[in-house]
């Protein structure tokens, strides 16, 4: 084993990259859950975004346009969930699971022609001057635009939820949909928008995997990233800034275990690859055991169907 081959600067730089897909997906889900809807289909929307983005990028030759396609693909799939849950009042847990199973099938079917195809490269955004700073430069300022988009979205969602009037209404709908309805807010319309936003974010996260992180199309490319994103939302107690912390933690662990694999650490590869999942469980336990604090922070109407009584 050669631990000296692991450079801390490169590790932190790739941590930022590894955290981005889960951060994007989790951010979307956070908004959805804040509106009182539990969408367990993140994994399905993510992988649909991964293939939609990849196909768009290959067709147009532009990775950036690929991300646009991915957001559209993820949002389109999430609308299916929205119609079932909001208007047909189906069980949110079951429908979310269905969305994941459906999305996985859809993606692997749509992805067949793209096996072994190379994606157009993503432009690196070397921020002048700042990227030249010795240690901080490579860690913070030499990434692709999507990394910064994800960070900007964290700030944007925080601002929206805590500083904007529409965000206040969205939180009201999530905390108590009957009261919000009585005040005249359009519960279903707001939830529809939130779900579509969640789908678009999950799609972006998926496309980040297929266009930047891997970067090619392989079946089952998300490998549970969507579920980890769901777990991070709980970890963050539904707060955008803590979400960032969670995503970095998981990005760090997955990068570290990959580096240990590459460095021939005397630990079986399989044990290393299961660590992100084990750590997720551990973190969930720690966060939920804090005297029910996590449960108190959950939106009041989360997962409950809304049936307007006139």
């Amino acid at each position: 084993m050669d631990l000296t081959s692991i450079s801390p600067v490169l590790l932190l730089a790739s941590l930022m990259v590894a955290a981005t897909p889960i951060l994007l997906a989790a951010l979307g889900e956070l908004v959805v859950e804040r509106a009182g809807v539990l969408n367990l289909g993140v994994e399905g929307m993510m992988i649909t975004g991964a293939i939609a983005g990849f196909a768009t990028a290959v067709a147009t030759g532009s990775a950036l346009l690929g991300f646009v396609g991915a957001a559209a693909g993820g949002a389109a799939l999430s609308l299916l969930f929205a119609v079932l849950v909001l208007w047909l009042r189906s069980n949110q847990v079951a429908t979310g699971l269905a969305l994941t199973l459906f999305g996985l099938g859809l993606a692997s079917l749509a992805g067949q022609p793209y096996n072994g195809v190379r994606a157009p490269p993503m432009p690196e955004l070397d921020i002048p001057l700042l990227s030249g700073i010795p240690v901080l430069g490579p860690i913070l300022f030499r990434h692709d635009p999507v990394v910064y988009l994800a960070l900007a979205l964290v700030g944007g969602v925080w601002w929206f939820l805590h500083r904007a009037r529409a965000g206040l209404v969205l939180r009201a709908v999530g905390e108590n949909h009957d009261a919000a309805h009585a005040l005249g807010y359009k519960v279903l319309r707001l939830r529809l928008l939130a779900i579509a936003f969640g789908g678009a974010c999950a799609g972006l996260g998926g496309a980040y995997l297929s266009l930047v992180r891997v970067p090619q199309w392989t079946e089952g490319i998300t490998a549970g990233a969507g579920w980890i994103a769901l777990a991070i939302v709980v970890f963050a107690s539904w707060r955008p800034l803590r979400l960032l912390l969670g995503a970095w933690l998981f990005g760090g662990i997955s990068v570290l275990q990959l580096n240990l694999q590459a460095a021939n650490a005397p630990i079986p590869v399989e044990v290393l690859s299961m660590t992100p999942y084990l750590v997720t469980i551990l973190v969930l336990v720690l966060i939920s055991s804090g005297r029910g604090r996590a449960r108190l922070a959950a939106p009041g109407s989360l997962g409950q169907p809304f049936h307007a009584s006139r």
């Binding site: 367990l40 429908t95 199973l101 996985l104 859809l106 055991s289």
Partner: protein, 372 residues
């Protein structure tokens, strides 16, 4: 404009009709999908749903039906208890893998001795392995309030990695020239789970599935535990007042579903699969979720749904070899089925009514809604 009006009680007729309608709708939309893929829709649907039973290769494919349906029914029956009570074990795939691993390990530890007791021992070890894996999310939920959905699913990925580790490490066949995978358990008389009646596909796992269906039916219809499960699902507050302990319910439901998934795993590894290999997990644990819902969480419904879903597996494989239909199309087809089912469920719970028409049953509906 159409509005929805809550029924005072779920409609029994619609509850029975929706799965059938969902299957039909899936066939129609699936046919369109196949047409878009450039396949003859009628021929494809016939290859999937008809040929495995009555086609020219029927004598070969019919036994496959029970082989595939066995694990699906076994797992789905277990899951139905939790799903009824609002306890979501979606990690059955992991419990299935763990059952196969512990069962195979128990047997291989005694290799190459010969005894009639080895197979029952392996079955017991498999059931306990699956149960233990399911009790992890259950205990965490009971003790710390951790979300069982996420934990049980995370454990699937852990189980897949354990499987790969076992197939390349401790359980690897020492005489296998370094190839991944364990010794062939179906060729070792002590552990072989062979066809019980030639040409039927009936093996011990199918028998276990039958027993599980009957057992679940009796438990749900006649036993206090079944009543507690149904009560907790339909009226959690009433269940609490009736003295149903939520913690005990979580542990029991998870243990049952994990145990049955583990059984499915050990019967599979000793029979149809034959050995512990990297590709052992083929998604039965996830498809079983669809089976459970399609069967309306009712044992007899699950029996029928399991057979139907097994048919799509076999028919899908046939369509793959004969018509060149991509394997993923069947996966999509199965996901679509669950979607249609959930969408049509609205008819069971609600009544469609034109806006303006006089609401007839409001007087009876109100108290029920108020009570919830």
């Amino acid at each position: 404009m159409i509005i929805l009006e809550k029924r005072p009680n779920p409609s029994r007729a619609w509850a029975l009709a929706t799965p059938v309608l969902a299957v039909l709708a899936t066939m129609i939309v699936g046919g369109l999908l196949f047409a878009m893929l450039g396949k003859d829709p009628v021929l494809t649907i016939r290859t999937i749903f008809w040929d495995p039973l009555f086609g020219p290769f029927g004598s070969y494919t019919r036994p496959q039906l029970l082989i595939k349906a066995g694990p699906l029914i076994l797992i789905a029956t277990g899951l139905s208890f939790g799903f009824r009570a609002g306890i979501w074990n979606i990690g059955a795939e992991g419990q299935y893998i763990l059952g196969a691993l512990t069962g195979a390990a128990a047997g291989l530890a005694l290799y190459p001795s010969e005894s009639r007791l080895i197979f029952p021992l392996m079955v017991a070890a498999g059931a306990l392995g699956g149960m233990a894996w399911a009790l992890i999310p259950a205990l965490l939920k009971v003790r710390f309030g951790t979300n069982e959905i996420l934990v049980s699913l995370m454990l699937v990925y852990v189980a897949t990695n354990l499987l790969a580790y076992a197939a390349l490490g401790p359980l690897q066949n020492p005489e296998g020239m370094g190839f991944p995978g364990s010794r062939n358990l179906s060729q070792w008389p002590s552990s072989a789970n062979l066809e019980l009646l030639t040409g039927t596909g009936l093996h011990w796992g199918v028998v276990a599935a039958g027993v599980a269906v009957v057992g679940a039916y009796v438990l749900l219809a006649r036993h206090a535990f079944g009543f507690a499960v149904r009560l907790a699902g339909q009226a959690p507050r009433a269940a609490a007042f009736a003295g149903v302990s939520p913690s005990r319910l979580v542990l029991a439901c998870m243990a049952i579903s994990g145990g049955l998934a583990g059984l499915a795993g050990v019967f599979e590894v000793t029979g149809p699969a034959g050995q512990i290999g990297i590709d052992f997990g083929v998604g039965y644990g996830f498809t079983a979720i669809i089976v459970a819902f399609l069967g309306r969480l009712h044992p007899l419904g699950i029996l029928l749904a399991g057979l139907l879903m097994a048919l799509t597996y076999i028919g899908g494989e046939m369509a793959q070899t004969q018509l060149g239909l991509p394997g993923a199309a069947v996966q999509l087809f199965q996901g679509m089925l669950l979607f249609f089912l959930l969408a049509m469920d609205v008819l069971t719970q609600f009544r469609l009514r034109w806006k303006g028409a006089s609401p007839v049953i409001v007087a009876t509906a109100k108290p029920v809604e108020g009570a919830r």
